[in-house]
Amino acid sequence: MSNHLLSLLIWLPVVGAIPVLLAGNGRPGLARWISLLVAVATFAASLALIPAYDATTGTMQLNESMSWIPSLGINYSLAVDGISVALIILTTFTQILVIVGAWEIIQNKPHQYMAAMLMLEGAMIGVFCATDAMLFYVFFEAMLIPMFIIIGIWGGPRRVYATLKFFIYTFFGSIFMLVGLLYLWHKTGGSFAISDMAAVHLTLTEQSWLFFAFLLGFAIKVPMVPVHTWLPDAHVEAPTGGSVVLAAVMLKIGGYGFIRFSLPIAPDASQHYEWLIIVLSLIAVCYIGYIALVQQDMKKLVAYSSIAHMGFVTLGIFIAFILVRETNNPDAARLGMQGAMVQMISHGFISGAMFSCIGVLYDRMHTRQIKDYGGVINVMPIFAPFYVLFAMANSGLPGTSGFVGEFMVILAAFSANPWIALFAAFTLIIGAAYTLWMVKRVLWGNVTNKHVAELKDVNGREIFMLSAFAAGVLLFGIWPEPLVHLMDASVARIVEQLAITKV
């Protein structure tokens, strides 16, 4: 069984979606229970990765390989390293909470909603497992179809605009990546294996073209400034579960793509254009933070804060080039890269939790405008502490997971260039400003209107969901060691590869 663990993880939710669909509109209860069962089973299976994976070497493990299209050299080949394992567990964990979160909230065709979520989960796990570029691409694109449906059917008033924008934007980025992959196939002499693509020699010009092809695909996914404009729309219009998956997992696929494709395949071009990514990341951290400050809509605020936080991920990945190749400080590079990875996982918990909290409020009040709230703590005493905790984590308070990744990246940035660190550290101020100001306006003070006065506190289902997120945020804030250990050797390998030029 263990040698097919990765296939099981991908296909269990996809196949599990079929009985959910068959349960139909008439039996929503059955559909919910089946999907919860499938999600829990997938989560349990993903936990089996931890003992199965040997974290000390950091190599790609649990290999599965089957010839898919022999005449093109496309293989159904899967393997994971520490980074993938962490992201897969994040995915399966989030999925359970998304299904619990949607339990009574989604009343319109719940079976289709749950089935779409499960198919999405399978495709996302597939992205994290694929070691064949074409297989990666297939999962990468297949992901869009269920998300398109989720935002489009269950979203807010402008859902159609948002979902079309989301789909076309993402497709636009990835189609050029496809042409890049075909070019690489041509160069490698007929292989789509990512490792073969990393081994082939390429001139700086070729690498630059490929770098920008990948950049387009992954920067839109992350998203980086200036191709971030789809995200606020998609987040605001998506149903709560859609926003949670989008923020917690789908954005990470962009960062993951940089590590899997851009760095090993085009290292010299990555070094050549590192300044571009660093500048864009700092713009995301500082300028987008300011934009978040002025938002009137809670979801939009968290969406912009996601862009700012993802800026740390790209920053952590690309300062590694300065550290390895220019200042010859691989330890700091490792720290920065490690920080970027921790930030990805941590942001998964925090943003998922923030969107869930907003979902809880929205389900009761049907508004996300900050001005419609005020004094919520007086009527929801159990809910308020969760909200405050996640807000603190979002602003990077020590003791929460939000602090760990950002701190590591800032430390590494300091070794690279103090100016970068200075701008990056700006987030500690601006992040605290926009998050805490929102908390002040929503939670504190006197009850401002009668709708707030009528609010009911969270029920058991919601407490479970928020507690699970809170456990993740606190666990990795206080004791990040297991997470760091899981990814450390894999990160070290990536940093070693950076030093090798391909020209």
Binding site: L72, G152, V160, L178, W185
Partner: protein, 486 residues
């Protein structure tokens, strides 16, 4: 005197012609209440024809009647899929014809004759066979388009098709005569051999241009696409589905025989006119991708939308063909097969959702389909994403192969044009999904699937095949590659 061997090679075609004649007589002889039998018999006739094609397939390429007729791997693939897809179309067509009281017998007989035309076209070993096959196909098609006599749209479409089609045939014939003048032969292999030594290069090039006009018309590639939207929209949908699917296989086969066998480069040396026609086809490809996709954006009629989408798909087919090597031809043939299957399902869906007095032709008619008929909405979603080329659906892999063929031929720019066109195309396919899933049904309309069980079943299988083949497309690719390897 033709030998018995020649006859055996042509057995599937001879059998189909005889069977079609028998069906025609049977239809005249049967009483009105018994005519349903013709329907099932015609499907049987086609499936037996498909069996004859596969079972009698020789191990290597053979020719009959002194090289006039070729039976090789390429012909096998194209004929098999034409016959099977036409049989599926017959299943879709039954409820359509029955409810609108369109004469049964003529439809089946004419379609079978047209299919025989396809079979000759893809098996042509000489210019004459190619032209004969084309005329048999198009003359039958003109009559099919006009089958709904009482509809003015249908008659208008038929006239347009006939006038433009006759003009294109004339162009093709004119081009063929020039090629004959330059090479003194009608046989495609002899023409190929004669190209190197001929003093009449200019005449040959003129001939090539005229022939590409004819081929472009048959494919429906821009700028020879003008007939497509009107004919697709005006024809009875049961005929549109035939023109839009099986006939694309014929167009590919014709292009392959005339351009590659007749004027292509032999393996390992530039002996033909491939460099010349590669560039011409690349221009046609870019124009088709641009015009097809851009004009499709503003369509409100589903049949017209699919018509413009066809034009763009033929652009992709040409992107692969431009490679002018076995890799490109097999990619292109794969694309033709995948497109034919997908478009058969797309038009089949229009038939299944229509009924007498209500043609489900406008995109808005699909509004809220997911609430009325989730199963058919799901199938249509598969069809649309396959046409858009989103993995893991079948349509994506065709695009992948043609783009790869272009990259391998050193035409990265063409692959990039194809990529950009895919983004534009995505929008109008998504719009169809949008109205089905995100919009509420219009009050007062009642779109529901036909009660005809076989049509529903076959359509479900056809659309699900797009998903299944999205995972298991390797055998088809291997088959296409083997056809061109010999």
């Amino acid at each position: 005197m033709p030998s018995i061997n020649d006859i055996l090679i042509l057995l599937p075609e001879i059998y189909l012609v005889v069977a079609a004649c028998v069906l025609l007589l049977l239809d005249a002889w049967l009483k009105p209440g018994q005519k349903g039998a013709v329907h099932w018999l015609s499907i049987l006739v086609l499936l037996v024809g498909a069996y004859l094609v596969v079972s009698g397939q020789p191990a290597s390429s053979v020719t009959a009647f002194g090289g006039m007729f070729v039976r090789d791997g390429v012909a096998e693939v194209l004929k098999l899929f034409s016959l099977v897809i036409t049989a599926m179309i017959f299943v879709y067509a039954r409820p359509y014809l029955k409810e609108r009281a369109i004469p049964f017998g003529e439809f089946y007989t004419l379609t079978i004759f047209a299919t025989v035309g396809i079979m000759f076209l893809v098996s042509a070993g000489s210019l004459v066979t190619s032209y004969l096959g084309l005329e048999l196909l198009t003359l039958s098609s003109y009559a099919l388009v006009a089958l709904n006599r009482d509809s003015s749209l249908s008659s208008e479409a038929a006239i347009k098709y006939f006038v433009l089609g006759a003009l294109a045939s004339g162009m093709l014939l004119y081009g063929m005569s020039m090629v004959y003048g330059a090479t003194h032969s009608l046989d495609l292999h002899t023409i190929h051999a004669a190209i190197v030594g001929t003093e009449w290069k200019t005449l040959l090039l003129f001939g090539l241009v005229f022939m590409i006009t004819g081929i472009g018309f048959k494919l429906g590639a821009a700028p020879f696409h003008m007939w497509i939207p009107d004919v697709y929209q005006g024809s009875p949908t049961a005929v549109t589905v035939f023109i839009g699917s099986a006939q694309k296989l014929a167009a590919f086969g014709m292009a392959y025989r005339l351009l590659s066998t007749g004027m292509g480069d032999a393996a390992g040396g530039a002996t033909g006119l491939a460099p010349q026609w590669q560039l011409m086809l690349a221009v046609l490809a870019v124009l088709s991708l641009a015009i097809g996709n851009l004009v499709a954006l503003v369509q409100t009629n589903l049949k017209r939308l699919l018509a413009y989408s066809t034009i763009s798909h033929m652009g992709y087919l040409l992107v692969g063909f431009v490679n002018a090597g076995p890799e490109g031809y097999s990619a292109s043939m794969f694309y033709a097969v995948s497109y034919a299957l997908t478009s058969a399902a797309a038009f089949g869906m229009i038939i299944v959702l229509s009924r007498s007095g209500f043609e489900c032709e406008e995109i808005d008619d699909l509004k809220g389909l997911n609430q009325r008929s989730p199963w058919f909405a799901f199938l249509m979603l598969l069809i649309m994403f396959s046409l858009a080329g989103v993995p893991p659906l079948f349509g994506f892999y065709g695009k992948l192969l043609v783009l790869k063929a272009a990259v391998d031929a050193g035409m990265l720019w063409l692959a990039l044009v194809g990529a950009v066109a895919a983004i534009i195309g995505l929008y109008y396919y998504l719009r169809v999904v949008k109205v089905m899933y995100f919009d509420a049904p219009t009050e007062g309309t009642d779109v529901r699937a036909t009660a005809d069980a076989p049509a529903r079943w076959v359509l479900s299988l056809n659309a699900l095949a797009l998903l299944v083949l999205g995972f298991a497309w390797s055998p088809l690719l291997t088959w296409c590659e083997r056809a061109f390897a010999g």
